[in-house]
Symmetry: C2
Subunit: 306 residues, 2 copies
């Protein structure tokens, strides 16, 4: 039996692509089962319930397991003891990570907005009909990862795949469904400041500086405005205890299309060097910026290296 | 402009897949050009001449170049200064190597016998007609890499691709063409012992032991029998000067289907632990063994680790 599994701190793409690709492998005669490396977020929970799927099995140790990795190819993002697992396939849409294998395997990465787009293309390649509910999962993953096609990572392939999947899933208005989906992650009222910061948080090494960047997507940034001081306070705490040179939180407004970047940094000038605008009161509005991967990490990396 | 390039010490697959994939990229609107990282061997020279292609441009430094890598994903096998090149795609059929990228790219590796098989499938996927001469190159690469389908690495996909390519290339008898092709590498008379050993030579780290394994494929092992003492003498020299724990040379008979393994090793017992048969006079016949990757490296690795 082989587990199909996405990255740690799973998002909707990691969970839905795992379920959809396990289903494809089963139809191709492989005993495959989806799994996850952590709790599902409220957006993913909404998607699973809407299309009638169970939350996949949690796995915590890769030792001795056969794994198909989706949505990542970096050891740090994968299951613990990944070196003691047998990796039999990788399906991804990120930069090529540091996972190596002792034997030839199937590895397909494409520079598109979402792993679900790659999975959809593989259903087409193998000429396997996509079940209606699976189409719903894959569509949700694409809308989630591309922020309803607004992220800079979006490609024509994502849009075309989403349109075909919406037709199969019987979803008439993609945009309305997308906003409904993303609003599940906007439900920040019940979350603590730490939960908001850590919702989707990644560590980076930028020229020897430990940098942490969280992101939360909101249908309206106003929902969180009165909690900014509380968030900054918690970020200062986390920066101290975690030994960060800089801690950032992207409050991304998916309707207004831009990000209010909160920053607690040793050297505030990196922000101006990265984005051409200075921090004021630990915050700066970045118009049109939606993607951490494409629009925040690269300029910060060059600012830290200069 | 982007170079399409195979591995160092290029074989027929690395050269022919580079030419064929560059041609496909051009048809898809990309300014692509094949390149090579070393001299072409006599088999490849025969293939290029037969189908009317020039020897691709030699490149020696990756710095500042845009590269599509074919037939490898390991830094050690790639162009010098690979870290200063921009890798835009990888097409391969080996184990996943240690190359990483800063951005998402197209990476397709398949567990098949030859990169040319993957390139053929990509022509099909993009619905691009394969020119007759390109079909000849791809067929040659498959016959070369799979030792006319006799290597353990051969899959149904390789055989099916080769049959279709033979039809396009107008080659009626695949087997005869394969033997003709492989016999070009059997032309060992004019080669020095060192040239024979280094024709297709790779270094490995096996549990901290430096191990070198060369392979030469012959249509009849008799062609080389009277030079074995000379080969062993040169291997002893190379072992000494290169600091090897073990130096191996596979004399693979593609008609008899097996390998006479020559070995100069610190600890001769690794050979018996690996292959179940002891060395006699620095040699052992391994029936049916044709593939270094699948049938020689893995048992030697476990013998060295035990």
């Amino acid at each position: 039996m082989v587990y199909v599994v996405g990255h740690k701190n799973p998002d909707t793409d990691s969970i839905c692509s795992a379920i959809a690709y396990a289903e494809l492998k089963k139809k191709l005669g492989v005993d495959a089962k989806p799994a996850r490396l952590g709790d599902v977020n409220p957006e993913t929970a909404f998607v699973l319930e809407k299309f009638g799927f169970e939350v996949p099995e949690l796995i915590e140790d890769g030792e001795g397991k056969k794994l198909i990795l989706v949505d990542h190819s970096d050891k740090a993002q994968s299951v613990d003891n990944i070196d003691k697992a047998e990796i039999v396939e990788i399906i991804d849409h990120h930069k090529i990570g540091d996972i190596t294998t002792p034997n030839p395997i199937f590895f397909l990465a494409m520079p598109v907005g979402c792993t679900a787009t790659v999975v959809k293309l593989l259903y087409d390649y193998y000429n396997v009909e996509i079940p209606k509910e699976i189409a719903g999962l894959l569509l949700s993953a694409i809308l989630s990862d591309t922020v309803i096609f607004k992220s800079a990572t979006t490609t024509d392939k994502d849009i075309k795949a989403a349109e075909e999947l919406a037709r199969i899933a019987g979803i008439a208005d993609i945009n309305t469904f997308g906003v409904q989906l993303k609003s599940k992650l906007s439900d920040v009222e019940k979350l603590t400041a730490e939960e908001i910061i850590k919702r989707d948080f990644k560590d980076f090494d930028m020229s020897g500086n430990k940098v942490g960047i969280g992101q939360i997507e909101l249908v309206d940034i106003k929902m969180i405005e009165d909690r900014i001081d509380e968030l900054l306070e918690k970020m200062r705490e986390m920066k101290e205890s975690g030994g960060y040179a800089g801690l950032f939180l992207m409050l991304t407004d998916i309707i207004k299309e831009g990000t209010l970047l909160l920053a607690v940094v040793d050297d505030e000038s990196v922000v101006e060097r990265a984005f051409g605008k200075p921090l004021e009161n630990n915050r700066v509005w970045l118009d049109k910026v939606m993607s951490r991967k494409k629009e925040v990490v690269p300029p910060l990396e060059s600012a830290y290296s200069s």
